[in-house]
């Protein structure tokens, strides 16, 4: 009988550095700082760490981080591919390691100088020698160098088919900015955003404009995973992993899944939804709040449909009703998200999911939050997790 992941593992600690536009330190320093902060949050020593997981895009290798923080001997180390699609995947791998006894204290981390260092969309130069670079050559040759240019192809088709307006995208951006106004960590803290400002913002990749894009951030976030049983005796209220999965589907490409019959949906996110709900024994009606991956505003609306909060084409209606706001049906990215808190590749959205379960988010809704849904990158091989109260 295989081990089922439901209620086996929990998040016992979250840690983060300051979020800035110029950290002034190395990515390894950011990684080490956030890993230590996650251990402090859990009340554990760094010497108890026996597993580390990160993203293939992360420049700080597991053993470098282990040496920097004085971790113990490592029995599990791994990296997950596909940019922000790795976020929940790191937790999935940690939960599997914990549930199967491969490790007992696994820290997942993502640390990046995403503004002052290597920014997204700088293009590729040199010899094209990997399958990944061959893939990108079909797009970059034509000037599609930034992630927004790839997502815009999908967003435009989706908006055209279902009558989603620029104002609808603006509602997502403004809802998340309103959340960020309560969050001192957030880039958007103290910076109110109006619909007039939104509509007047600089066009970048039609139909996407400046405020449809996430931040570029220097910072690190770490998530400490251990067994649910052990987490119960640690410093913070555990956020129990009810279900967690990775997901990639037929015709999957890395942000350019342009060759499927239909561009106006997210099959990999629908797969993540099916699997994570089945594992948890829950459905959309059981989810009290969410942190849906938000590199772009359009992705949030599409995911409302993928995760079954409404039917196809009706995501815009939920947004118009204020469902994503703090008093709404599904308060979403209550820290401001990647758009208005920081872009730490989705790891900061997982940290917010944990806060919502603990009940100590700056954007804590005025209701019982029993279950929170968090997703990874959109349009890429991805994943989803449901966190629950112990």
């Amino acid at each position: 009988m295989p081990v089922a992941l439901k209620n086996e593992a929990a998040v016992a600690g979250i840690g983060m550095t300051d979020f800035s536009k110029a950290s002034g330190v190395s990515e390894l320093s950011l990684a080490a700082q956030c890993v230590v902060a996650a251990c402090d949050d859990a009340g554990l020593q760094t010497s108890e760490i026996d597993g580390l997981v990160s993203y293939t895009l992360d420049s700080s290798d597991e053993i470098e981080v282990a040496r920097a923080v004085g971790a113990g001997d490592l029995s599990f180390f791994s990296k997950v591919n596909y940019g922000g699609g790795a976020a929940v995947g790191t937790i999935a791998q940690a939960a599997m390691a914990v549930a199967t006894g491969q490790a007992s204290t696994v820290v997942c981390y993502r640390a990046m100088n995403g503004r002052s260092g290597k920014r997204m969309g700088q293009g590729i130069s040199g010899d094209i020698i990997t399958s990944d670079l061959v893939h990108w050559s079909w797009y970059m040759t034509y000037g599609m160098l930034i992630p927004g240019s790839w997502i815009a192809i999908i967003a435009n088709k989706y908006m055209h088919r279902y009558g989603v307006t620029r104002e609808d995208l603006g509602r997502v951006a403004i809802s998340q900015r309103n959340h960020a106004l309560r969050n001192p960590r957030a880039w958007g803290y103290g910076k109110a955003l109006t619909m007039e400002q939104y509509l007047a913002s600089e066009p970048i990749a039609f139909p996407l404009c400046l405020y449809d894009f996430c931040q570029e951030t220097d910072g690190g976030v770490a998530i400490l995973v251990t067994s649910a049983e052990r987490a119960r005796d640690l410093r913070c209220k555990p956020a129990v992993i009810r279900g967690v999965t990775q997901a990639a589907t037929g015709g999957q490409e890395q942000m350019t899944s342009f060759y499927r019959d239909e561009l106006e949906s997210l099959p990999e996110m629908e797969m993540a939804a099916r699997r994570v709900y089945a594992q948890a024994g829950l459905g959309p009606d059981d989810i009290d709040a969410a942190c849906l991956y938000d590199a772009f505003t359009s992705e949030v609306i599409m995911q409302l449909e993928s995760f079954g909060f409404c039917d196809r084409g009706e995501g815009k209606e939920l947004v118009r009703e204020g469902a994503l706001d703090i008093g709404g049906r599904l308060p979403n990215n209550t820290h401001g998200g990647l758009i208005s808190e920081a872009y730490v590749h989705g790891m900061n959205n997982i940290a917010e999911g944990v806060r919502l379960i603990r009940g100590d988010s700056t954007g804590q809704p005025d209701k019982n939050v029993e279950h929170v849904l968090v997703s990874s990158g959109v349009g890429v091989p991805t994943g989803a997790i449901i966190l629950g109260k112990d």
């Binding site: 293009g123 435009n156 039609f206 342009f258």
Partner: protein
């Protein structure tokens, strides 16, 4: 095939399935044998975007990027030339043309069929 002023589509020699972007194995029948068929160059706009920022050297902005449904059944991303951002729309018929840059590098691009 662009250097011969043609647009090629990869085809499995065994089951004849077309595929793009090119890959070494056919996902339908696992064959490693493939050739290329010449595309008619006719298609319609499946989706598009207009890029205005940031402006990378070597490209003309606003840059219209189209995802084309080729008549043969595969899709291809390319550039729409000889067209303004106000004129581009879904479903419009387009025709391929070969564009050569200052270095002699040839690329298949598209223009509106009514203009070709």
């Amino acid at each position: 095939m662009a250097n011969k002023d043609k647009l090629g589509i990869q085809r499995c020699t065994d089951c004849k399935a077309l595929r793009h972007p090119p890959r070494p194995m056919c996902g339908e029948c696992r064959s490693l044998e493939w050739d290329a068929v010449e595309a008619s160059g006719n298609g319609t706009i499946c989706s598009y975007t207009v890029l205005t920022h940031p402006r990378f050297p070597g490209y003309d902005y606003p840059l219209i990027i189209v995802l084309v449904d080729l008549a043969e059944g595969t899709r291809l991303t390319s550039q729409l030339v000889n067209c303004t951002p106000e004129e581009v729309d879904f479903e419009l018929p387009v025709v391929m043309t070969i564009q050569q840059d200052a270095d002699g590098f040839k690329l298949p691009v598209f223009q509106l069929a009514e203009r070709a």
